[in-house]
Symmetry: C2
DNA sequence: TTGACTCTCTAACGCTGTTAGACGCAGACT
DNA sequence: AGTCTGCGTCTAACAGCGTTAGAGAGTCAA
């Protein structure tokens, strides 16, 4: 059963299909056999275009991180806080475009090798603002880690997260019955509602950047 | 071949063995068959004491989170920042005791059901300091998420993380060759060295709490 | 026509989580 | 003493996983 209609698969097609599968069914739904089926091909065939599954996952994360950092505004050294914060917001937005990929991204080194150039660019801008290279990278790492942590937490209680993590509503009712007055009051006040994640993220960013600016003054 | 020597397994023994296995071999090393072997029992036997593997993992995370929050100091309402920060430090220390468990903890809802009581306790203390319940839980979530994010990043590049994430040293030399001057300077200045994670975490906490305090003043 | 190269296939290996059903042992009841 | 009940464990098996080996089409060049 030859495939005369297609000129042959490519690594990019495999990765694209893999991302499609992850977006649709989650990381657990990505299987070499399913990935093959998605491309009209047997599972073993994939190994001609890709060394193994781990490489596929790594590549997906790599691409996502690069895309996220590429979305960064150019960045003038003056007023680095507003610019760095814009980067954080862009990073969050980009990461949330593929929520199912987040658990993967979080358990790998924060900066994928392919993203080094992007990091260098951001770091250089911070250095131009007066930070030492080490300090600049600390800042980048802090912001990236914080964004990743919050994004991960947000995506954790969105649909399709395979395991039976109780959805927000069920958790809310359970809290309601559990006789914890403060928790109950917080839920009644809107905790856990859809826009609550956004609000909390912004609060965290406000605090983080307020603190960063305050601490940057004395010792640059 | 009866087991006259042991009065029968218990769920707790299974969980303890599971944690032992995860600490030793990572999450990927935890297999029902291996878990059985660790207890001198066949894999199928485990299903008499435990519903399935997912439940084991959930229970492990639950316990870790509870232990971490239990390590929190009692917390007097006055000077909540130092106290909340102590909690953050304790949380980090506790989470780092089982680094291999972190990827699991990070992809689950931040607060495990069993830990609700602990959360309530912390939240109540914050409310006594003048925060609204919702605000108090936002604060807790922010601190917990930030700590988890940073801890996860730290544990990400510690040994035994199964996949081939380049270790720090190899990454450093790769950076050195890659012609990115700022990155190179940062590595030369000590970025990535063992105590660098700790330094970055403390910097992040300093900034976060400075900002939280500053923002708490106006609107409590 | 022959040869090499590219791409895909079938078949299989050892591993995984999980279920069904049988077996032996303990204690309680008759 | 005999019988029954239930607990704890076993063996055997299922479908699915990632991965490899080797065969076999198809295309292009000499």
């Amino acid at each position: 059963m030859p495939r005369t209609d297609r000129p042959g698969l490519s690594r990019d097609q495999v990765l694209a299909a893999a991302l499609r599968l992850v977006d649709r069914d989650g990381v657990a739904g990505l299987t070499m056999r399913r990935l093959g089926a998605e491309l009209g091909v047997e599972a073993a065939t994939l190994y001609y275009h890709v060394p193994n599954k781990a490489d596929v996952l790594n590549a997906l994360v790599d691409r996502a991180v690069v895309a996220a950092l590429a979305a960064a505004p150019p960045g003038r050294p003056a007023d680095w806080p507003v610019w760095l914060r814009e980067l954080a917001v862009a990073l969050r937005a980009e990461l949330l475009r593929h929520p199912n990929l987040l658990p993967l991204a979080a358990t790998r080194p924060v900066v994928a090798p392919a993203g080094l150039a992007s990091v260098e660019r951001v770091a250089a801008a911070l250095c131009a603002a007066g930070f030492s290279p080490r300090r600049a990278l600390h800042l980048i790492n802090i912001v990236a880690t914080t964004v990743l942590g919050h994004t991960l937490a947000e995506a954790g209680h969105t649909p399709g997260h395979e395991d039976v993590s109780p959805d927000t509503e069920e958790l809310a009712t359970r809290i309601d019955r559990s006789g914890h007055p403060v928790l109950r009051a917080a839920v009644a006040a809107g905790l856990g509602r859809p826009d609550d994640d956004q609000a909390r993220f912004e609060l965290a960013m406000d605090a983080l950047f307020t603190g960063l600016v305050a601490r940057a003054r004395p010792d640059a």
